[in-house]
């Protein structure tokens, strides 16, 4: 086969072409070569790479391990005999040493990890993860962590391990998903690179974070907490461990013994962290459910109770209404895409834009729910100066007004959609009728 190549580089001993196969290849140097030249070449002109670095490194590793293993066996063989006959302290020491070396090798082999994941709730855990994203080792990093059984998590995939850690922390009482406080779980991931330019591995941290995000979408355990996630390098992680700091947040705060929860409850910290990292907030629907239970439990004599109820219902309704319409618009768009009809797609695109607006409404409603939750919290914590109550009432009234307006909008929007659907159906019926009439006519003509 004849290949075509664009000459991009002239080295001392070879030249590099960008070939028509979408590859960069080394070819033999010849006369009159100029960068930018387009040439024809054959496989005979290719320079096969003389050594594959990775293979080389792998081979070297295997060799070292087998060499040490042989040494261990030789040591046992050589000193085994005197060991039985007459105790020889030196021999015993040497056998022990040899066995120890062998042990280390075995451990090194099973501990072949390529990423480290720390989970900080308080309790804090450190997970070593191998190339297949399976947990190969797990360590309790503080006393609280030691109270939770985790050694059985070795061998399962990292996202499942994280879920189980959160679940067990919940059962053990470190997380309380039945109170109105937000619970935070901080997950930090670092790649461990054996060779500094081994870039194949460096994508793993991202992959692990993605896997956890996916897990969070379906796991009820993870839905009940706010997940903060960050990627960092191994050095930072080691340094944090050395100083018993929380790696994921130590760069954002000077306070040494701040807990994850204390850190994230501060709005400023949260936004600082968010600027370069991901946070998946606690599932709002679970929160709404929980809040309605708390509201039901409220004493009727509680000040502002009625307003609170109203505000909660209004923002909750806006949220679910907007969510439904958002999903509807999204589904319509997908269906339109599948139908492949250009006019339908264009129309669906408009709907998708509308859907974005619904999403904004959802976000706003979410914020309102959050504010209401704060009010609820203050009531339960018994914080009730009259000045504060007035402020609260104003706030709640605003929320009610806004949400009633939003709902009007949503209703109008829905009305519009329904009307449109009816119109379309009528149109279709008419067309059908016309078609039938035409057929009838044709038949008559044929007769």
């Amino acid at each position: 086969m004849i290949n075509k190549g664009l000459l991009v580089k002239l080295n001392k001993n070879d030249a590099i072409v960008m070939s028509d196969h979408g590859r960069f290849e080394r070819i033999i140097l010849r006369d009159n070569m100029q960068i930018g030249m387009r040439i024809q070449f054959t496989d005979d002109d290719l320079i096969k790479s003389t050594h594959n670095r990775k293979e080389f490194v792998m081979n070297a590793k295997t060799k070292i391990i087998s060499a040490v293993a042989v040494m261990a066996i030789v040591a046992v063989g050589a000193f085994g005999y005197p060991l039985i006959n007459q105790p020889n302290e030196k021999a015993i020491a040497q056998v022990d040493q040899a066995l120890e070396v062998a042990d280390v090798i075995e451990v090194a082999e099973t501990m072949n990890f390529s990423a480290i994941v720390t989970v900080d709730i308080n309790p804090s855990f450190k997970l070593s993860v191998d190339e297949d994203d399976k947990v190969v080792d797990i360590k309790a990093m503080n006393d609280d962590a030691k109270t939770i059984k985790v050694d059985d998590l070795v061998g399962i995939s990292v996202e499942n391990a994280v879920e189980l850690i959160v679940l067990r922390s919940n059962v053990a009482g470190f997380i309380d998903s039945t109170d109105l406080d937000d619970d935070f779980v901080l997950i930090s991931v670092a790649n461990v690179n054996e060779e500094d330019d081994d870039e194949e591995e460096s994508e793993q941290a991202e992959k692990i974070l993605e896997a956890i995000k996916e897990k969070a979408k379906e796991s009820n355990t993870l839905k009940d907490v706010t997940l903060a996630m960050t990627e960092m390098d191994e050095e930072t992680m080691n340094e944090a461990e050395k100083n018993s700091l929380i790696a994921g947040i130590m760069n954002f705060t000077d306070s040494q013994n701040m807990t994850v929860k204390e850190f994230f409850e501060d709005e400023d910290n949260l936004s600082k962290f968010l600027a370069s990292n991901d946070v998946i907030p606690q599932d709002i629907e679970n929160k709404i459910k929980l809040m309605s239970e708390y509201l039901d439990d409220l004493d009727d004599s509680t000040m502002n109770k009625e307003t609170l109820d109203q505000a909660f219902r209004a923002s909750k309704d806006t949220f679910f209404e907007a969510k439904e319409q958002f999903q509807q618009a999204n589904d319509d768009y997908k269906a339109a895409l599948e139908s492949g009809d250009q006019a339908t797609i264009d129309e669906a695109k408009e709907n998708l834009d509308a859907a974005e607006a619904y999403k904004d409404q959802m976000e706003q409603a979410k914020d309102d729910v959050e504010s209401i939750k704060e009010v609820l919290k203050s009531i339960y914590e018994g914080d009730d100066s009259s000045e504060m109550k007035d402020q609260e009432k104003d706030e709640l009234d605003k929320i009610i007004k806004r949400n009633l307006k939003e709902q009007e909008k949503l209703e109008a929007e829905e009305q519009r959609r329904i009307e449109k659907q009816i119109k379309e159906e009528l149109k279709r019926e008419e067309e059908q009728k016309k078609l039938e009439e035409q057929e009838k006519k044709d038949e008559e003509n044929n007769d």
Binding site: I27, M37, R38, Q40, F41, D45
Partner: protein
């Protein structure tokens, strides 16, 4: 048992079989190109393949003139190709010295200038690409060393690069982190993680070429594929 090349050639001499003849010539195109390239110790440019045409004609001629008793066919074909090419060079040098056919000369010169211009533009863009790739810790040597061993993924990798370049989030991450967000690219382009991983450097090169508006290089990517 399949026939030896020599037997096939003799058969061709005895009975006309255009199809088999073309097949043989096609199969030995690399051999023809190699013979010429080795003779002049220079690569043949795509735009200027007169020498290659002469090689093809010479190979065809060798099929007709081959005598089994004398040598293997390929040895013979190589001699014929080399002699025809040398003849052509001689004629060329005389040609330009005499300037007998002024019209023909002018035409060739124009083509040469056109080609040169294209080469210059490409050279400039290649230089730009090289500088931009430095941002990602890449150079052409690294790209060459990282090229996958097999050639099956060519079109894929270019397509992946083109589609990926349309996603702002990919571009942002790429330039921010200075490495290709493999998972994201895989999600947005539908290519498997493995394909993206093995071709990541090449995909970066494609994206950078698009983003930096290196149109001639892009043209090369598209046209030669």
């Amino acid at each position: 048992m399949p026939l030896t090349l020599e037997k096939q050639i003799i058969q061709l001499q005895n009975q006309d079989d255009a199809k088999t003849r073309n097949e043989i010539i096609k199969a030995y195109e690399p051999f023809i190109l190699n013979s010429i390239v080795q003779l002049k110790n220079a690569y043949i440019q795509i735009e200027n393949d007169e020498e290659f045409s002469i090689g093809l004609l010479a190979f065809n001629e060798a099929i007709d003139k081959y005598d089994e008793a004398r040598s293997s066919f390929l040895t013979f074909a190589k001699v014929v190709i080399e002699s025809r090419i040398k003849n052509y060079w001689e004629k060329e040098s005389r040609h330009s010295a005499d300037s007998l056919d002024a019209n023909q000369n002018a035409k060739e010169e124009l083509m040469a200038i056109d080609n040169l211009e294209k080469t210059m533009i490409l050279r400039q863009e290649i230089h730009q690409l090289e500088t931009k790739l430095e941002i990602f810790g890449l150079d052409f040597n690294k790209l060459a060393d990282a090229s996958p061993k097999h050639r099956d993924s060519k079109k894929n990798a270019i397509d992946v690069g083109i589609i990926a370049s349309k996603h702002d989030d990919i571009i942002q991450k790429l330039y921010l982190k200075r490495k290709l967000p493999i998972l994201l690219v895989s999600q947005k382009t539908g290519a498997s993680i493995k394909v993206v991983k093995t071709n990541k450097f090449f995909i970066i090169a494609v994206i950078v070429s698009i983003k930096e508006n290196l149109t001639s290089i892009m043209e090369w990517f598209m046209n030669e594929n």
